[in-house]
């Protein structure tokens, strides 16, 4: 694989953007009517490939959900749905085993499209989840079973939420991986925080890929414009994202879904429910009914309004199906909505991203009294961001020196019983770097690691210090790879 050429693919709602970055940047937009097989077969397998699938997952999450059987092993504590007997203690000891007959009966009585298995404190000992998985394998294929213990940084309710969503996504992501692998054995997905994850990690936790569009827009716009402190205005098909950058980086916040923290980090942005495909009736509507008439659609959209107002000549621009008044009203509604969000956000110039940016951003900048830039290739900024992103990886570390174990993301390894904090941090750092290198991260991208949420305490038994419990998260943060041209 050539390490000096980076390819990014962003699968959007209407189009798929492709960017190839080497000595120069080549970017193109392909309609989603073109099959993924065609798209990926056209990309050279000699280059590093990163794929952002945000829109696919968005559509899945907002569409009809598959039927998921959720089975929990909560042990003592708050009541949970789908509970079966069995309990893991605070130190990972098995307090109560599962009852295999009870689990088998429960699974048979609640057959669904997929099954999600979540145990309390399973991140300290996954054995009960694994016991339930073995029983579930009698009824489900591997793509239909998800467990929660690899999500070490999440608590039980968040693992329930994410594991249940993952159960519905696993088959879909598995199919996508197979299709891309036909042409590219090695490739990455972009996660919601903008970092790259391997296909194995994506398969285990597909939810991490959700909401990657603002991340790629942020990284791509910064890479193209080099504006460190600005507001990226990414005008997509369905929505417009306004993403603040400070020192070239977007803010990272935890995703909330169904009022439940997911523990999954994602780039923070303000999303306005209007984009190029938003339907125009008497006014602009916050929904999509298909392509713009400019692109063979049946109903007029914001893109058609841009054409009707004479701002652009996009696609079939002569048959918009809109009166001039309708078009102007839609454009005014759009501009006002975006300007009000911009004015409530941080100061600084605007950087445009997305196909409509050259036509809409000048007006937005005028009414928000800001300077603006639309860098070259801005229409494919998301694909550029995917291409130049770097591998990000994190480990939740839980060590119990009394038991002589350390768990990295819920998987146990032996350590000497007298391991001190400093040694453990060193071991975890090496483990993290080893995993990142194995996935293909260059040494210069994994030089700096971040440690947070460090917590440790002594275990006293019989008036003696018997052990030490240590928890922390160690990560290689997302960003632009140091190898990007």
């Amino acid at each position: 694989m050539r390490k000096d050429v980076f390819t990014g693919v962003d699968i959007g709602g209407t189009n798929t953007d492709i960017a190839v970055i080497g000595d120069e940047i080549i970017a193109k937009k392909v309609a989603n009517t073109t099959s993924l097989v065609t798209i990926f077969s056209d990309i050279s397998s000699a280059y590093r490939l990163s794929v952002s699938t945000s829109e696919l997952l968005n559509r899945f999450l907002t569409g009809t959900k598959p039927d998921i059987c959720t089975i929990t092993i909560p042990g003592p504590g708050l009541a949970r749905t789908g509970a079966v007997s069995g309990a893991i203690g605070h130190r990972g000891e098995v307090l109560d085993p599962i009852n295999p007959d009870e689990v088998d009966t429960y699974i048979r009585q609640h057959m669904a499209d997929a099954i999600a298995i979540i145990g309390k404190f399973s991140v300290r000992n996954p054995c009960l989840e694994e016991d339930v998985r073995k029983i579930a394998q009698r009824y489900y294929p591997d793509t239909g079973i998800t467990v929660s213990h690899t999500l070490g940084y999440l608590n039980m309710p968040a693992r329930m939420e994410v594991t249940t969503i993952n159960a519905g996504l696993k088959k879909k992501i598995s199919r996508l991986i197979s299709r891309i692998r036909t042409f590219h054995d090695s490739f990455y997905f972009v996660s919601g925080d903008g970092g790259l994850v391997s296909k194995t990690r994506a398969y285990k936790n597909p939810m991490a890929l959700y909401h990657s569009s603002p991340a790629t827009a942020a990284l791509g716009s910064y890479y193209l414009s080099r504006q460190k402190n600005c507001l990226v205005v990414d005008i997509g098909g369905t929505t417009t994202d306004i993403i603040p950058l400070v020192d070239g980086k977007p803010a990272i916040r935890q995703l909330i879904m169904n009022d439940q923290k997911t523990g999954i980090d994602a780039v923070w942005c303000e999303t306005v429910p209007y984009g190029g495909d938003s339907r125009v009736m008497s006014d602009l509507m916050p929904w999509r009914e298909g392509n713009a008439r400019a692109f063979d659609g049946k109903k007029p959209t914001l893109t058609d309004a841009v054409n009707r107002a004479g701002i652009a000549e996009i696609g079939v621009f002569t048959s918009t199906g809109l009166s001039l008044a309708q078009a102007r009203r839609a454009l005014e509604t759009y501009t006002k909505s975006i300007v009000s969000v911009i004015n409530a956000t941080q100061p600084g110039p605007l950087v445009g991203a997305g196909y409509l940016a050259p036509f809409l951003l000048p007006v937005i900048a005028h009414y928000s009294h800001r300077r603006y830039t639309i860098p070259e290739h801005a229409s494919c900024a998301n694909a550029v961001g995917a291409a130049v992103s770097r591998i990000s990886i994190s480990l939740h570390v839980h060590a119990d020196t009394g038991r002589g174990i350390v768990l990295y993301n819920g998987v146990s390894h032996s350590i000497p019983k007298n391991t001190d904090d400093e040694t453990l941090i060193h071991m975890a750092t090496e483990e993290l770097r080893h995993r990142a290198e194995k996935e293909g991260a260059p040494p210069s991208d994994i030089k700096d690691v971040i440690i947070d949420r460090f917590n440790a305490f002594d275990v006293v038994r019989g008036w003696q210090i018997d052990a030490r419990i240590i928890d922390f998260i160690i990560r290689v943060a997302p960003g632009i790879t140091s190898e990007a041209p």
Partner: protein, 361 residues
């Protein structure tokens, strides 16, 4: 309305020695349990961050001379008794614990929450006006009660269910008819006080009620006391707020005591107390952590049970893992209930002279 959880990471810093029973590990597993259960992410709970108790609030309870001693000893370290040393920086830790109780009370009075639990340490109920003792330095619940009264709450009930008698709290309010102090505790036991004949003094006579219980006592005796004595007398007293000295060392796994209460017992007791507060004082209830030394076996489950009951959640799964059942069998004395009923008969005979709700027998 929601339940407030008062907590500060500095509550994990106070330590007399790394192996002392009242050490940071006491809250570590509770913190673990709460994190894994997602307690602080639930809409039923609000996390409240406390500030150190203001000195005037502390001096409303404790003597200036004692406070000066604590403050000075905190600079270099010192001793109160064999169980209670003064580590460096203690005064700040103790003020933050008392501040936690005040923050809980303020959140309730300000209608930010319906009720609140201050998960603070070091504990306080053995600290009297002019002394510390039994791991306690400042009497957190007493400082909080005086603060409540300063904010207009006239009559307060303190229910102290720690396994040890709340001698410090009793001393502070012994002659005060505005505070009804009720303690259920193992007896005879540390600190040696808390017999049924200690009932208050001066105008406060009748406003101190002690329910000493023998080793091996379990849930049914606590329910009996609640229904037969606590409920009628608290109704007759008609408080503006109920405060609980929530010591979880009555649990059957506690290494320092010999009682046999279960997590279910704690959940039920708190449910009963919440119902009482709803009936009498618009649900105003503040719990303040006292003792509890079964760091891994008891505290995570009992503290969770209490919080779940305060928020009105389903408590049917609030029980210990089944591997602890032999520990319960060893600790539980099936004859304890008869002894408690017999003692309660004598106690009622004393209380009926002060309280019309307790019939003369």
């Amino acid at each position: 309305m929601t339940t407030g959880i008062v907590y500060h990471d500095q509550y994990l810093l106070h330590e007399q020695s790394p192996t002392h029973p009242e050490r940071r590990e006491r809250l570590s597993y509770t913190r673990d349990q709460f994190l894994e259960e997602g307690i602080c992410d639930r809409k039923e709970y609000v996390r409240i961050t406390p500030c150190p108790a203001p000195l005037p609030a502390v001096l409303a309870v404790h003597d200036l001379q004692y406070i000066s001693f604590l403050e000075q000893s905190s600079e270099k370290g010192g001793y109160i008794d064999a169980d209670t040393s003064i580590p460096k920086g203690l005064f700040n830790s103790a003020r933050l614990a008392a501040g936690g109780a005040i923050a809980a009370a303020d959140a309730v009075l300000d209608n930010q929450v319906k009720n609140a639990f201050a998960l603070c340490r070091p504990p306080g109920h053995h600290a009297g006006k002019g002394h510390g003792a039994g791991f306690c330095y400042l009497n957190n619940i007493a400082i909080m009660v005086r603060h409540l009264q300063a904010r207009g709450m006239k009559r307060i009930v303190i229910l102290d269910w720690d396994a040890h008698h709340g001698n410090g709290t009793q001393e502070i309010f012994y002659d005060d008819p505005s505070v009804l102090f009720i303690s259920i505790h193992q007896y005879p036991f540390y600190p040696g006080t808390g017999s049924i004949y200690e009932t208050g003094s001066g105008t406060g006579i009748g406003f101190t009620i002690n329910m000493p219980i023998p080793a091996g006592t379990s849930n049914e005796s606590y329910y009996y006391f609640f229904d037969e004595i606590i409920h009628p007398i608290v109704c007759e007293f008609s408080p503006d707020c109920i405060a609980i000295s929530a010591g979880q060392d009555t649990h059957f796994t506690d290494p320092l005591t010999s009682l046999a209460v279960t997590a279910t017992g704690y959940a039920n007791l708190m449910q009963k107390t919440c119902e009482l507060s709803e009936r009498l004082c618009d649900g105003r209830l503040v719990a303040v952590l006292e003792g509890g030394y079964s760091v891994e076996g008891g505290l995570p489950y009992t503290n969770l049970a209490i919080l779940a009951a305060m928020a009105g959640l389903d408590t049917s799964h609030m029980k210990e893992p089944s591997i602890f059942h032999t520990a319960f069998e060893r600790r539980y004395d099936p004859h304890s209930f008869e002894n408690v009923v017999s003692m309660a008969r004598t106690l009622k005979g004393i209380l009926c002279t002060f309280w019309q709700s307790i019939p003369f027998t």
